[in-house]
Symmetry: C2
Subunit: 184 residues, 2 copies
Amino acid sequence: MALRHAILAALLEGESSGYDLAKDFDASVANFWTATPQQLYRELEIMAEQGLVAARVVAQERRPNKRLFALTEAGRTELRAFTASTPKPTAVRDELLVQVQSVESGDGDAVRAAIRNRQEVAETKLKRYERLRDRLLAGRTEADYLASAERVGPYLTLARGIAFEQENIRWCEFTLDVLVRRTS
Amino acid sequence: MALRHAILAALLEGESSGYDLAKDFDASVANFWTATPQQLYRELEIMAEQGLVAARVVAQERRPNKRLFALTEAGRTELRAFTASTPKPTAVRDELLVQVQSVESGDGDAVRAAIRNRQEVAETKLKRYERLRDRLLAGRTEADYLASAERVGPYLTLARGIAFEQENIRWCEFTLDVLVRRTS
DNA sequence: CACACCTAGTCAATTTTTTGACTATATTAG
DNA sequence: CTAATATAGTCAAAAAATTGACTAGGTGTG
């Protein structure tokens, strides 16, 4: 029941369809949670049954109907209770690092290619996060924004994502450099 | 079947009991994988059946017998094949960030306490990682070590862990500062 | 005018992971 | 002497997450 709280948090931004949420979980929410569309649709269904979200069907022209989900009072209460609970420590699980750990006993070329790929993914994510930040700031300075904005939560989590990806890129560069040096 | 590869990678350091591995998964391996002792014992059992690891029982004085597991040729082959496969992108899952995202609708005191706690955990981990690094370097400089050591994999993953925890601490400090400022 | 890909979902089966309940002996701190 | 903690495991159930197979209409490109 953890995906549920990430969905509730995402719905603070406003009413969304399952599809909208899937896009969010690929962009801003990706900072702290990942989920496939299938997981979202199923969880939303259950949450609607339990009254944590309210669904309404909107007919669209030239497209299938969509269902928009919004937080209910019960949903807000649940989210509030969640913020008061002790968060689980994060479980790191990174296959690339397992590969790097065993690089000397493994396929060096493949591992280096995987690191390059990771770096590209990180660069793409970083750019997206930076665009999101610029949109949030809307011209204001960070200090200005943090002092005046109604909600700073989304900015703070975004800052974590940006720092994480920057660090990721630095590490990929460093690691590639070390491995290439040792190969040549 | 992903824990399996982390275990194989950990066994590159040498023969270990399930208990030894549990300690590793709490220290060095924690950089890239987490597992409870229960998960390890079960997976080791299966891996032994499949011939990826070889178990031998060692009688101990004043203690229960222990089983030591070592990599087999099949295990090394499996690990090598794994390093050649495309690693899954990591799935981030951080309850604390979900709480921070919703901090304005939630329990501010509890969220700030959780951030402080995360910072302390990160500081403890960082110290442990730095001790491990010092032990690996054994007096040599980083450049010296990277050029001459037989295996650099463990050092590189440790470097990732150190950078990650440092970034973590910085973010906790920044975020606490912002939240405390807005509360007072 | 095909063909690929996007939007908007549903459903069921697996796989993976976690959690909790157990059994034993050994060592250490108060 | 006693209680807490560490060592060394097993087993089963439950929860969580992933995967694959579907349906159906819409949009854009060569």
